[in-house]
């Protein structure tokens, strides 16, 4: 299997809102596996979204088990048509992106979220996420709406962490 080519900034597809997934068929499952394989080849990615490989559909992967330091997580997730239903708190964290090589910056995200989505079979799934995993999900869901972390950068010296 060859990794899928990563779409990189400033490709217009990264600024485009994706369409809902309507067909839950073997091809979709095959694509999700291919997407996972592609993320595995990149530099320590903990998530990836379909538009990052040019597929303009609302599907993304979130995998906080790959964090360098252990964090709370729901395991490796394929999220289809995901929506955040609840947000709580704020946190500043550093983010990078497979589609924006050689740059990281600080972004404010909700500290914890609740999320509803479908799995690759089309079944509804719900998750509560916090911290690093919540950050991954928000970053990936932004991709589905054509929003990059560059659009959400805050001051390099921003810091909301509790002392």
């Amino acid at each position: 299997m060859e990794p899928l080519p990563i779409v990189t900034y400033p490709d217009e597809r990264l600024k485009t809102t994706c369409d809902p997934v309507e067909q839950f068929d073997p091809e979709l499952r095959e694509f999700a596996e291919h997407l996972q394989y592609t993320a595995d080849q990149g530099p320590s990615a903990v998530g990836i979204a379909a538009p990052q490989v040019g597929r303009m559909q609302r599907l993304c992967l979130v995998d906080a088990t790959r964090a360098k330091r252990p964090v709370d997580n729901n395991g490796p997730l394929v999220l289809v048509n995901p929506e955040i239903t609840n947000w709580k708190g704020f946190a500043v964290g550093r983010e990078g992106c497979l589609s924006i090589p050689d740059y990281t910056g600080k972004v404010i995200r909700a500290e914890s979220i609740e999320l509803v989505a479908q799995d690759v079979q089309g079944r509804e799934v719900r998750f509560e996420m916090k911290g690093f995993e919540a950050r991954i999900a928000q970053h990936e869901l932004d991709h589905l709406d054509g929003i990059l972390f560059l659009d959400r950068l805050v001051s390099r010296h921003a810091d909301l962490r509790q002392r």
Binding site: G42, V46, G47, K68, E95, G96, R156, D159, R161, R163
Partner: protein, 174 residues
């Protein structure tokens, strides 16, 4: 072929227009800007700027002479052995605050060095009042010996009235 990078440092009393004027002159001769850091320190505005394709250091100094004079800036230009796309990702953040006294930066950074931390970004400030100044420092860096080693090294500062907090940083990439 691209010329070597130059590092321009400019410092002068802060007032609107310094950045716009300096960069306009450089753009006018086809210069390329690389990474820059600009900030207000005290009542001064300080610029550090990677520039290339604007000529040799003495030529860049000449180009900027009228702007330098207009804004009463101190200008220094050095050729440097730098390149872009050399970013490093910090994995630890250290914040320090205390009543101001001499030696805070020297003491803390020496301890961090001993603990295997390489400083990537340091910003410090003096707040409080003239009578009771407080010193605040934020440092991002990368560790070689782990967060715990840093925490052990800085623990002793508590006895000296320094509040030192060590926080792991984890960059999310997706």
């Amino acid at each position: 072929m691209a010329q070597p990078w130059l590092l321009l440092t400019l410092v002068g009393a802060d007032r609107p227009g310094i950045v716009a004027h300096v960069t306009r002159v450089l753009f006018g001769v086809g210069a390329e800007l690389g990474e820059t850091a600009m900030m207000r320190l005290g009542n001064q505005f300080a610029i550090m700027m990677m520039v290339r394709n604007a000529g040799k250091p003495e030529e860049v100094t000449g180009l900027l002479e009228s702007t330098r004079a207009e804004f009463d800036l101190k200008l220094h230009v050095d050729e440097i052995d730098a390149s872009l796309h050399q970013h490093r990702e910090p994995d630890v953040s250290v914040t320090v605050h205390s009543a101001d006294r001499s030696g805070i930066v020297a003491d803390v950074t020496a301890a961090l060095l001993e603990a295997g931390m390489n400083i990537l970004d340091l910003r410090s400030d003096v707040g409080g009042s003239e009578d009771e100044p407080i010193y605040i420092m934020q440092i991002d860096g990368e560790t070689t010996d782990g967060i715990e080693t840093i925490e052990r090294r800085v623990a002793r500062f508590a006895e000296q009235g320094l509040n030192v907090h060590v926080t792991p940083l984890q960059t999310m990439r997706g």
